[in-house]
Symmetry: C2
Subunit: 459 residues, 2 copies
């Protein structure tokens, strides 16, 4: 009868302390999304498989979690069909729905489906879990949260500027020291053009994207394997080894790209974005990074990737501009730019660097010890008044031994414990213990409320 | 190529306005959960099917959404197995995971799995979506949110009192006028005993539970069909027709149940809970409702159900005490009491009664009109300063026609629009338009910040 309970691999339970930390991240990001005028939407966890399939490449299709239809699909399969054991075909019969894989495709679907209700440009944010049937490993989960902000329906570069300000504010508020890498897909296109391999753009960018991981030599090996001529590989080298300030890099690149109209457009765009952000002033470093391509082929302009400076953990946020997000759903020509924050990576960085505030583990500000029926009811009256003034407070529910009650307060990190014993009954007197200093004082209810409520918390 | 996009039936997209309303509900409930000392946990969307199956009855098992395994299960099926078309057996091979059906079973699993890390009593809250493969119909969805608060590891009736105060505060804060119906399973047991049908408790409570829907006569028909003697049916009648104040009902019931020890224990428990809540004082009516049984058979003590008074929509919240939540996972004897708030029902009530605050649709407090490159950059400086003071603000990203920009501000319900045109460049001057009154004034940045920031919003 009794089972030893567990959860599916790659998934997680979150304890109260973990939730407090996660909420700290979500609340910070959400507050800034709102501050910047992004509006929240939510989409269903399940999408039709027809919406999801083919959007993430062949590999992505395999990583979709598929949900079995409710009816008895076996009835509609003839013997032949079953015995063929064609997994794909049977899966199509058995499953019409899948769990969302990211927030981008559902957003594109949302925009097209609700196009008549939306005023463009539309700034949306979305914070929801996504699911991937990846092989579970350290730091990689099958269910994890994404926090996305996008603006669609405007090709103004001020949107890029706004997203960079947002990103700077998010990480400043979280206390994470970051470097924001930027690039522009048009520059990559320009490079492919000027080295004489314009039709090899995807091969080149996929290879370039790996430079941090596998190094220049291995990238060159890959480029040669893809069929790039030795001249092109050599022409690429100085570009990949570019160094100096952003202005210096832009100067060198505009010299190299001077014969590519597209490339020069990319330079101009980056110069405008980096310039505006610099004049407005941000705390994080913005670094032009020509090697930045971010695998995904749908970026068409600015590319953004954020790396934490004080810990080696890869990117903690990334995004860029795309010109045809909704085309696949029948609404072409809609330009947008967006950024995605990975809550789990950010969590790991903050934990490693000890950046979470100390009092996050607290549940209530004051716990009342339970001395029995009459004392408990008197305490409940005080607790009710405290809560009405916005002070989180609770009574230990059982008349247990003092030691047990105090140790519960300890393990909850409760800053104050209150005692209403027999001698306090019928008086406006509460014995208050500061759990940090150990100091005990007798206070009235009004005193207690004054001491524990902050003026902003009251309603 | 282009598909007409849609979403699976029974699921929903939530627009910014709907999200603002939903967040208003979630934020209110969450704030109160914290105020009362409940700690948040989250569990994975997917549980092992072995955790879920058999916990919700045969009907519930059918309503579980099952997720197909990643591997190729067809390889491990022989021809015979496939051709048998035994859906259950094949499903067991194809699916090991399912989407959670409620928050109670995952919570029980959580408590048992993490028993060594938990300090009891444990007050937890959980706000997450659940999924049911129900036939979609008006007001019933396949994905919907539950908001649960439970205390486990304490059998003190003060927990019931605390939950009733919490429920009163939640609905008071939301502005919903409710009646909180209470009963006690021990009273129902006592009734079955004194009418001489002690072994028919489940039949009786299931029938009683329907009295509001089908009326006394039909309930009696059902009871007779279930095999209850005429004497028992008649003995039950005065109990079902009980009226008067809670005290009057308790007096009558304690007379009827005087020979049932269990029944009298139920009376005593209810008297204590109702008495304490009355002395502490709440806004909602608490009503002893002997017909309240709440279908589920796992309640063992107090039963709670909340109904909105001003709209006929059924229950919007319910819960009670259970004594063996975790037994099925090998941890017997853990008592708990909890309550669940249905966000969608509450949403429908608030929408029907027009209870949502008016300014929920607002995105930012001020939108700056875009007059071109230089004006836009000057505006961005102001916007950055406003945001640093906690004022949500944005720039219209494109230098579009004034009419288009103003209509965007209108459709976003933006209360103020700011103009920084050529004549304001290089001066500390912003033309501010109050969108409600139409009034226009020239203000400095400091003025603007002072006017739009509330002292509590600044960090």
């Amino acid at each position: 009868m009794a089972q030893k309970p567990g959860i599916p691999k790659g998934t997680r339970d979150f304890s109260p302390v973990e939730m407090a930390r996660r909420n700290y991240i979500f609340d910070t990001i959400k507050r800034n999304f709102r501050l910047f005028g992004y509006k929240q939407i939510e989409t269903p966890s399940m999408e039709n498989l027809s919406t999801l399939m083919g959007k993430y490449g062949e590999e992505g299709d395999k990583l979709l979690f598929k949900i079995q239809n409710s009816g008895d699909f076996l009835k509609s399969c003839d013997d032949q069909e079953l015995l063929c054991r064609n997994l794909l075909r049977l899966t199509n019969k058995m499953c019409e729905k899948g769990l969302r894989y990211d927030l981008t495709v559902p957003f594109a679907r949302y925009v097209v489906q609700h196009r008549n209700d939306l005023v463009l440009p539309f700034k949306r944010y979305q914070i929801q879990p996504v699911w991937r049937a990846d092989r579970p490993q350290k730091g990689r989960y099958r269910e994890f949260y994404q926090c996305d902000a996008d603006i669609v329906g405007s090709d103004s570069l001020l949107n890029e500027v706004d997203l960079l300000l947002l990103t700077d504010k998010n990480f400043s508020d979280l206390g994470i020291n970051v470097c924001i890498h930027v690039n522009n897909r048009k520059i990559l296109t320009g490079i492919a053009e000027v080295i004489g391999e314009a039709d090899r753009l995807i091969d080149i960018t996929v290879a370039i994207d790996k430079i941090d991981k596998i190094g220049l030599d291995n990238v060159n090996v890959e480029l040669r394997e893809k069929g790039l001529g030795e001249g092109a590989v050599n022409a690429l080298r100085p570009i990949l080894e570019l160094s100096g300030s952003n202005d210096e890099k832009l100067a060198v690149m505009s010299e190299i790209l001077k014969d590519s109209e597209t490339g020069m457009k990319g330079i101009e765009e980056l110069r405008e974005v980096i310039g505006a952000v610099g004049r407005l002033g941000i705390k994080s470093e913005i670094r032009l990074d020509i090697s930045l391509a971010r695998g995904l082929n749908y970026y068409t302009g600015t590319i953004i990737e954020v790396k934490a400076r004080d810990v080696a953990i890869g990117s903690i946020s990334g995004g860029g501009r795309y010109d045809n997000l909704t085309g696949v759903f029948g609404m072409p020509g809609l330009s947008g730019v967006g950024i995605s924050y990975g809550a789990d990576r950010i969590y790991d960085v903050m934990l490693q660097l000890d950046l979470f505030p100390e009092d996050l583990g607290q549940t209530v500000k004051v716990m009342f010890v339970n001395f029995g029926t009459r004392e408990a009811e008197q305490s409940m009256l005080y607790i009710k008044a405290l809560r009405e003034h916005g002070v989180p407070a609770q009574l230990y529910p059982d008349n247990a031994k003092m030691k047990k009650q105090m140790s519960a307060a300890d393990s909850d990190n409760v800053p104050y414990v209150a005692f209403v014993g027999e001698s306090e009954l019928g008086k406006d007197a509460i014995v208050l213990k500061d759990m940090k200093s150990g100091e005990q004082t007798v206070v009235s209810l009004a005193d207690l409320i004054g001491r524990l409520s902050c003026p902003c918390a009251a309603e």
